[in-house]
């Protein structure tokens, strides 16, 4: 028994070591340096909660926080609704169904950097989006969608929704497949309309899947970074918390202590959100 335990430990040791070196130790280390004024090239001193206090009065951080919330609250409902709609569509039997499924899913397996560069081009002055907007009577921003504070963040959010829906569609599709056909058959015999079936069977039974999607999508959305980095570099009121952490810790002044404190605040926010969502998942009563 002892021998087999040793062997198991030995076999698991590469993973354990990787976990410790690249995850656990950096996590604890960053928590500790969050309480110091650690700055690369300058060293560090213990300053307690000063970084956290400074963050709460730092306008750049608060702006980034606000932009992150706009991003999260703006993209998640839209992504969820569209991906559910797409899942319902491609769940039906029609010719070319596989092609549509693949087409919707394709953006989510494409590199974010590539997509961001393509969209930056589409959003340019005189680009396709501007031309399309002009055709439907909307005056596009003079210098392009990404060079205007009133449209930059929303343009990135729209791209993010376009990119994510295929992935969540697939998860919804798996949820739809798990709903027994007998329920729909019984409902049809009882004379329930399609809409009634959707609200009384599909939606309640998809609740665990929907909540799972909400959890993973909100974690992903709170950590939005690549799009911002590639498309606007945080300009035109698009800076988010992770971009703020990157700028503070690795670009402008290498204040790793301050950046770590910001990262832990983000961790608390995501943790809080996730706890609420998990609590909802554990409810036995359906939410809708």
């Amino acid at each position: 028994m002892k021998q087999s335990r040793k062997t198991a430990l030995l076999l698991a040791s590469p993973w354990i070591l990787t976990f410790l070196i690249f995850w656990a130790i950096p996590l604890v280390h960053s928590l500790i340096i969050g309480f110091t004024d650690y700055q690369l090239l300058k060293g560090s001193e213990w300053i307690g909660l000063a970084n956290y206090k400074e963050l709460l009065s730092d306008q750049s951080f608060l702006d980034s926080l606000s932009n992150t919330f706009i991003f999260v609250l703006g993209t998640i409902p839209v992504t969820t609704i569209i991906s559910l709609g797409l899942a319902l569509l491609v769940n039906r039997n029609f010719k070319g169904r596989a092609l549509f499924r693949s087409a919707y899913f394709l953006p989510s397996i494409t590199s974010m950097v590539v997509i961001a560069l393509i969209f930056a081009n589409l959003y340019e002055r005189g680009g396709y989006v501007a031309t399309l907007a002009a055709m439907i009577g909307f005056t596009p921003p003079e210098h392009g969608f990404l060079f205007d504070s009133s449209t930059a963040l929303y343009s990135i959010m729209a791209m993010d929704v376009w990119m994510s829906v295929g992935y969540y569609m697939l998860i919804f599709l798996a949820g739809l497949k798990a709903i027994p056909d007998e329920l729909y058959e019984a409902a049809e015999i009882a004379g329930a309309s399609r809409i009634r079936q959707f609200f009384s069977i599909t939606l309640p039974l998809l609740q665990p899947v929907a909540l799972f999607i909400l959890v993973i999508n909100s974690i992903k959305s709170f950590q939005v970074f690549i799009e911002i980095f590639v498309m606007t570099s945080g300009k035109f009121e698009t800076s988010t918390i992770v971009y703020f952490i990157y700028e503070t810790g690795l670009r402008t002044d290498f204040r790793l202590g301050y950046a770590s404190a910001a990262a832990y605040l983000l961790f608390l926010i995501i943790g809080g959100f996730s706890l609420i969502q998990f609590a909802l998942m554990r409810r036995k009563q359906p939410l809708w």
Partner: protein, 404 residues
């Protein structure tokens, strides 16, 4: 058999003793472009040939994360012996004690080079200028003619410049007078400061103690720049602006020697002329920066490192590098006299401009000051801020920063 073993042992011993006798110098540099990298390697090979006791280990950095890598390497005590630094990074590394004082080393030939001001911090010289950089005004001559000016005409003064930009802009909806940078980090302020300096504004008082960025001249400069931006500006990233210029859509574009390189390599068919930045009295002042070579303060191979730096920055190697990179401003005065520069009118425009170029203060806080200045310009150009209030706020922030 034993003879063979003895022979192999002797060979190994000789190889080992050669390696032991050699000094290894590490050099971190940024030139990875396939057009330039072979020239860098050739310079290193030649150095090793002339100095068989020194081996150079080259490491390539990228502009996107090279600065971070240098900071991390110095912080962890694993910095290279020789490092290439942009002019605005020198103060940061000098202040933290990571760069060796090169005062004595460069004193013998400092008069033969330009750019020492950018390498001097607290009256000590921390780097040797390699090549310098400035921005000039590229003018589309076809648009100039279409706007009713002679083909060889260039605007001399700021008033004249604005007048021509407006005329070019009015040619068509798809033609713009001036390429105006969007809110691009580390770029926007470099485009505004030439107008700022050319209108006699200053960032700090002469003794460097007080920030005076909201002086009357400074506000006038931002008002002028905003008018150009609002009325005639093609707003985009530097790349987008240069693309539009090469496509014949913009009359005036501020750019560096890299645009010359692009025109040459891409064989672009554009009728253009390079002129100095306009000023109150022609010519105006442009922005000055450059690439420098510094020695790690903790290097155990300082003598060899300095030898390498002297070799790389020698006039003949600067010429080799500039030819490969289309760089217009070698730091060596002797190199500037080479026919390659002297007979090329475009490169001469850069050499004239660098004499009338200003570099930002050598200050470890420059990265923050730069950020504040950029925010003020962004506020005036893209936000709701008035130039006067944007600059006043910037002055308050910079003053508070300096107090800290």
């Amino acid at each position: 058999m034993s003879r063979r073993i003895a022979f192999i042992s002797l060979a190994l011993f000789l190889m080992a003793s050669t390696a032991i006798g050699q000094t290894k110098v590490t050099w971190w540099q940024f030139w990875t472009d396939p057009n330039i990298r072979p020239t860098i390697q050739a310079i290193v090979d030649e150095f090793e040939k002339q100095n068989p006791d020194i081996e150079v280990e080259l490491t390539d950095l990228t502009w996107s994360n090279g600065h971070e890598k240098i900071v991390i390497a110095f912080s962890t005590g694993r910095g290279p012996d020789v490092v290439e630094l942009g002019s605005d990074w020198i103060a940061q590394f000098a202040e933290s004690g990571h760069l060796a004082d090169l005062g004595e080393f460069v004193s013998s030939d400092s008069a033969d080079f330009q750019g020492w001001g950018m390498a001097t911090y607290n009256e000590k010289i921390y780097a040797r200028p390699w090549f310098l950089g400035t921005r000039v005004m590229y003018v589309n001559r076809t648009l100039l003619t279409r706007a009713g000016y002679d083909n060889d005409f260039v605007p001399y003064t700021l008033d004249h410049f604005k007048e021509v930009a407006y005329k070019i802009d009015s040619l068509s909806n798809k033609i713009y007078g001036f390429g105006s940078n969007t809110a691009e980090k580390h770029r926007l302020y470099k485009k505004f400061l030439p107008f700022f300096w050319s209108m006699d504004a200053q960032l700090f008082t002469d003794d460097g103690k007080y920030c005076i960025i909201s002086s009357v001249q400074a506000v006038d400069a931002l008002i002028y720049y905003k008018e150009l931006h609002d009325s005639t500006g093609y707003v985009g990233t530097q790349r987008q602006i240069e693309d539009a210029f090469l496509d014949g859509k913009i009359g005036f574009v501020q750019s560096g020697d890299w645009l010359l390189k692009r025109i040459e390599l891409e064989k672009r068919n554009i009728d253009f002329v390079i002129t100095n930045v306009p000023g109150l009295k022609y010519p105006g002042y442009s922005f000055k920066g450059g690439e420098f070579l510094a020695v790690n303060a903790n290097s155990e191979n300082k003598v060899a490192a300095k030898k390498l730096i002297r070799f790389i920055t020698s006039p003949e190697n600067q010429i080799k590098f500039c030819k490969a990179n289309y760089s217009a401003n070698p730091s060596s005065k002797e190199a500037q006299k080479d026919p390659y520069f002297a007979e090329n009118e475009n490169l001469q425009a850069f050499i004239r401009q660098i004499r009338l170029a200003v570099h930002p203060p050598v200050d470890p806080d420059w990265v923050h000051i730069e950020n504040i200045i950029e925010e003020a310009i962004e506020d005036a150009l893209f936000g709701q801020g008035l130039p006067a209030t944007a600059l006043r706020d910037a002055q308050i922030k910079i003053t508070n920063l300096k107090k800290k």
